[in-house]
Amino acid sequence: MSPHTRRAPVLRLDRRPSSGSAFPASTVGAELPGAEPPRVAVLWCPDWPVTAAAQHEKLPPDAPIALVTKNLVFASSGSARAEGVVRGLRVREAQARQPGLVVLDYDPALDSRAFEPIIAAMEELVPGVQVLRPGLCAVRVRGAARYYGGERAAGLFLAGRADEEGAGGARVGIADGIFTADQAARRASAGAGSGQAVRIVPAGEAASFLEPLGIGLLDDEQLVTLLRRLGIRTLGAFAQLDAADVFTRFGPGGARLHSLASGRDSWPLTPRTPPRDLDAVVQFEPALDRVDQVAFGVRTAAEGFIDALTAAKLVCTAIRVELDSDSGELSERVWLHPRSFTPADVVDRVRWQLQGAGEVGLKSGVTRVRVSPESVDAIGNHEGGLWGAGPDERVHHGLSRVQSMLGHGAVLMPSVGGGRTLSDRQQLVAWGDRPPDGRAPGAKPVDQPWPGRLPDPLPGTVFSPRHPVHVLSADGASVEVGDRGTVSAPPVRFSANSSEVRRLTAWAGPWAIDERWWSADARSAWRFQAVDETGCAWLLVLDAGGWWAEARYD
């Protein structure tokens, strides 16, 4: 808590009628002396996170969508907002207000990724684009206005181009300085295409445009609270304060906000450097339907892809492979690499993605393959040592060879996860796919107590799949377990098939497993341990499907 909000302000701020324009800029250290605010166009895509998510999930733009993070609504589409689904609502409540609500997880990376084509389109039209955040970017408008014959024409052109790229009703505000242009864009009316998508604040009129707007637009909660308590509720009222007084009282940060409020946002645009286009795209015409044909077609592009990365002094540690098919399917997957990709590795990943028909495979011919670097690193960090590479690299090469013989999922790294059954606790991840924290995706936390798990020692042989067996009592009847955990008769022998019968010398159980009884994937079973006459011990399970040998202690 700042002292500003607790105590009465120590400095008396007097309000002068009109001193805004006669203010000597040199007294304020935060401002560049004599700098003119540049003419700026800000392109704003309303509800960008929702638009991006809808595009990614291929939902209609008017679908009721809510993006959630930490069980709270982060953003919602217009149709959902009309039903009262607003930011900050709990998911349960949002679903109650709009039963047909599509709830998606908010993914900031998707926001940025989906905005990339729009930035690229803007950069084609106007050089020097500054990305303020996904869904909001600024360009210098002077040259564009001259080229397209006026600021309005240029603004309409930008908005139209952004809509072509799927911005979903982009608006443009043109004014002096980024702050004013942003506010102008947000006040452009919604009907895109009718010329209303652009709001222009003429040069020198920024102060009068901002004057009636609320003080809450300034991005400093403490200052805004204090100003409200002082009775300053609009930007215009704040702008009327003496700049020197504001600087003395609130420091450079306050002076900067003061100059924003008075429409003298003289900060220049800092355009981004467009990233090098390192993606490799291969088009196939006609579509190819054989894996080896596609792999062969990608080979040259993969070499060019890695060469371009090397030329940029980068290595790639993760790639994203997109496969477009004839029927419009898109298969997309990120592949990690424990070291860094070589051209052969890239071709392998494309092939594995095509072969993995169960997960992400395609059902028709492939028309386009796109490989883009998902994460890159400086090449210096991946240089081999002076005396050759470490032992781990040798291991990686050997295992990659096995993977290229048998497929990506054939070489597995084990880890132990949480859970009650042996198969739950045993997590296997393909070599190279293990995330840096070492925890397998989808694994339950291992540090929880998990009551009901097997006591130590654990069986060395875990059958997968488990074997069906018959467990019989002395009179030859199958052993059953009653509702209250009573065994119908002591188990005396069991057999996997009718020929080989094993006599049991000791047994223990039953131990109940009753998991997730409230849901459709409920599981309930009885577990037994038993020792046969050869001294070999078994883990036997009785569930709705009968008796199973799940593991052997050998």
């Binding site: 032992p391 040798r394 291991v395 090469h397 050997g398 295992l399 060879r401 096995v402 013989m405 048998l406 054939a410 070489v411 597995l412 790294m413 084990p414 880890s415 132990v416 042996l422 606790r425 045993q426 296997l428 070599w431 070492g438 006591p455 130590d456 020692p457 654990l458 069986p459 060395g460 042989t461 875990v462 059958f463 997968s464 065994v487 002591p490 000791a506 047994w507 223990a508 159980g509 341990q529 020792v531 050869t534 001294g535 070999c536 011990a537 593991a551 052997r552 202690y553 050998d554």
Partner: protein
């Protein structure tokens, strides 16, 4: 009389031949100056040479726990271990036996490329465990053995294998802690027998595999029971 003396003579000759053959076999060991890899102390004494040797093959008669005991020491010493063709390998049990899962790699289903995969894994790992899909052909075994000697990789085979340095088997397994409908499996005493083609007669010891504290150690306070005559190899 004459017949009797010839019989006696031939018995003497047979003994001599057997002795000489044993000496030749000992001199024909796969390697003269084999280096040892770390081996669990409870088992090291039973093995020929006092431990697992680099570049040699050992056959283990269907005991995953004995296998994990053998893997634990080299794995803890920083060695990578590869398991080929064993989809039922119990990962969590291996961790409890002391195998480092960060340096363990599984190839559960090598299919008909079993030999190529085992050779590729043996190139980069120092200890490889495998179970041959069926009786492997002699030529492929010889090729794999040559590769192992060259790379210094120790091969642990679950099941029979023609050119083993030693064969380890379990007998007289006795579980503790479990009764007729009560208790649970807690500890096991077992006799481990090592048959070697270089050493003359099988050596065996009574082991806790594992004991109640999940450790593997010799069961010292009980004498080793004499083994019944049994062909092990």
């Amino acid at each position: 009389m004459l017949d009797r003396s010839t019989v006696l003579e031939s018995v003497g000759e047979q003994d001599t031949v057997a002795q000489l053959q044993a000496r030749i076999k000992a001199m024909q060991a796969t390697k003269l100056d084999s280096k040892l890899i770390p081996t669990h102390p409870a088992i090291a004494g039973l093995l020929p040479g006092g431990g697992l040797q680099q570049g040699a093959a050992y056959s283990i008669d269907r005991s995953a726990m004995l296998l994990m005991t053998l893997l634990a020491a080299p794995s803890a010493a920083g060695t990578w271990c590869g398991i080929v063709g064993m989809p039922e390998f119990g990962v969590e049990a291996a961790q409890h036996f002391g195998v480092d899962l960060d340096r363990l790699v599984l190839v559960p289903h090598p299919g008909d490329q079993w030999l190529a995969v085992t050779a590729a894994v043996a190139d980069v790992m120092e200890v490889v465990v495998t179970r041959p899909p069926k009786r492997a052909t002699d030529s492929s075994v010889a090729r794999l053995a040559a590769r192992l000697r060259q790379r210094g990789t120790t091969l642990l085979v679950l099941g029979p294998w023609p050119q083993t340095e030693a064969m380890l088997s379990l007998s007289q397994s006795e579980w503790h802690g479990i009764g007729e409908g009560h208790g649970h499996l807690a500890a096991r005493e077992v006799t481990v027998t090592v048959t070697s083609r270089t050493a003359g007669r099988p050596r065996s010891a009574r082991l806790w595999l594992p004991d109640a504290g999940e450790a593997v150690r010799r069961a010292e306070n009980r004498a080793v029971q004499p083994l019944p005559e049994r062909q092990l190899a």
